[in-house]
Amino acid sequence: MAESKEKFFELRNLTVKYHSGSSIIHAVNDVSLDLNAGETLGLVGETGAGKTTIAKSILRILSENSVESIDGEILFEGRRILDMEDKEMQAIRGKSISMIFQDPMTALNPVKTVLSQIAEGYKLHHNCTKAEANKRAIEMLEMVGIGEDRAEEYPHQFSGGMKQRVVIALALACSPRLLLADEPTTALDVTIQAQVLDLIRDLRNKLGTAMILITHDLGVVAEVCDKVAVIYAGRIIEKGTLEDIYDHPTHPYTCGLFAALPDMDKDVDRLSPIEGLPPDPSVIRDHCDFLERCPYACEKCKKFDNKMIEMTEGHFVRCWKANEEV
């Protein structure tokens, strides 16, 4: 592959398989993405589509017991993450790349104060004194709107929204270059969500942090992302800029997602759900994964390969009918 210019971050043909009993689960299939420094990519898809698996592969924190294989390449500032020594990876994990976990209830240690949890990571990566680390931790907590007087409290003393903000403070303490945010606002109320999104935007502007935002909320993506990739059954089915996806959604699944949302501005009597269910992840198909649920599917779809089509520059769609009727 010719490398004309080095990308800040790149996934090349990432494929992750889990084993489950006697079958193989194809969680992520041939996913390629790239990201420039300071850019925000929205990774959109339903439960089980493979979003979290992608994020965890980047940090190499997938449970070794359940992974069958990870193939492809993950390049961070030109370095191959999958080939790194554990020590090298540890220096990156939590410092250059960090992650906001989905569930704030389980992402925090229940027997340590929030202050010590944030200070711990900072101290580990910065070789500083405890006092310095604590100072940094308090700064971070204040940035997410939690006062110093609550820093010595334990996670159970915080509400869900506050815990999520602690998790965000934790992820940002070391000013990462790349932030993987796995449904960072799903557990939050809209007013708090607005605060958190504001905070994330602010950090991006101040620190130039690049971000992969994993979510199923198309509204949140519209708020903060520059680029969008829609993932279905472990495969990217459409990717492009925010405008590409929101103004010209092309894949029938992407269109279906938009149609299924209750519209704030229009009154509709009935929503249009996508009928059916996502396919069985233990079966690998050589035709389109969305075939069974697609309103445009025909016999020909079964015979066509699963290639992406470039609609306009940078806007890719995995549907051979993209240029025709859809």
């Binding site: 809209v190 504001d198 519209a222 279906g256 704030m264 009935r270 929503l271």
Partner: protein, 318 residues
């Protein structure tokens, strides 16, 4: 139409080590028969507690709950049993609200068995009918909850709630745990059921687009208190309470060309433990002054539009 459910100054306090948690404080609302009232607010503001107290899963601390003309807090044992049939609940989490060791048909059958007035044959037929109504395939009759996806699990929860032909159902975030495409299926189902069976819903959610889709009336709660209640269209067109305004402005939209002006709230949420008499939103409210901490009154600012804010008229220049 008469109100099916009505509360007057309903209160529910919980004891905790630090004092009394005012989970629901002085809530008065009416739910008309066949309508849906959407209950929105942040997590921990007492939405679920209000829902559970309405159907007497929690004993209320003070105030009245009137269901079908009768005061629920004064029912005897026999009347209570009848009341229990008339009210049901659909829970948020379809994963933890179903017994993992029972099959789908066991779960749906259970209320019918407990009722004691049906023969075995009737129970079997009704179970089949219910599965049909909510759209669960017959072949899944003997499946266990873990074998079903979230959407189907929620359908089982709905079938169970419908078993005894209730009049009133509290839907506690029934679609929050579901994906968008599945969420639309369940919302359509709930609306169809309402039309076919004349059900009355209290629909608890924090998702404003969902509540806008499904409700007739909307009640906005903040830390145990009602802050605003009115018709759905009225609320979205003329939000009058500062909290409602912030809430509506904070909803992320998929329209990337017309961005709204956001109202970002500052300040911390007050503790619901012994909160004192004033407005609980005062600590985050951009308009609050000292008088807001003294006390707060509900007023009908426009016909059918209730706002609990001393400054509502001033802020909105009414």
């Amino acid at each position: 139409m008469a109100a099916l459910v009505e509360t007057q100054d309903l209160k529910k306090y919980f004891k905790s080590g630090a004092g009394l948690v005012h989970a629901v404080d002085n809530i008065s609302l009416k739910i008309e028969e066949g309508e849906t009232v959407g209950l929105v607010g942040e997590s921990g503001c007492g939405k679920s507690t209000l829902g559970r107290t309405l159907i007497h899963l929690n004993e209320s601390t003070d105030g009245k709950i009137i269901f079908n003309g009768k005061d629920v807090t004064k029912l005897n044992k026999k009347q209570m049993k009848d009341f229990r049939k008339d009210v049901q609940m659909i829970f948020q989490d379809p994963y933890s609200s179903l017994n993992p060791r029972e099959t789908v048909s066991d779960i749906i059958m259970e209320p019918l068995k407990l009722d004691g007035s049906f023969s075995r044959e009737e129970i079997k037929n009704r179970t089949r009918e219910l599965m049909d109504i909510v759209g669960i395939e017959k072949r899944l009759r003997m499946s266990y909850p873990h074998e079903l996806d979230g959407g189907r699990r929620q359908r089982v929860g709905i079938a169970r709630a419908l078993a005894l032909k209730p009049k009133f159902i509290v839907c506690d975030e029934p679609v929050s745990a579901l994906d968008v495409s599945i969420q639309a299926q369940i919302l359509n189902l709930l609306m169809d059921l309402q039309k076919d069976m004349g059900l009355t819903y209290l629909f608890i959610t924090h998702d404003m687009s969902v509540v806008k889709h499904i409700s007739n009336q909307i009640c906005v709660m903040y830390l145990g208190q009602m802050v605003e209640m009115c018709d759905k269209k009225e609320l979205f067109a003329y939000p009058l309470h500062p909290y409602t305004k912030a809430l509506l402005s904070a909803i992320p939209t998929t329209d990337i060309h017309n961005r709204k002006e956001r109202i970002i709230l500052k300040g911390e949420i007050k503790s619901p433990i012994n909160p004192g008499p004033g407005c609980r939103f005062a600590s985050r409210c951009p308009y609050a002054d000292e008088s807001c901490n003294q006390g707060v009154q509900a007023c009908e600012v426009r016909p059918g539009h209730y706002v609990v804010c001393n400054k509502a008229k001033e802020i909105n220049q009414l």
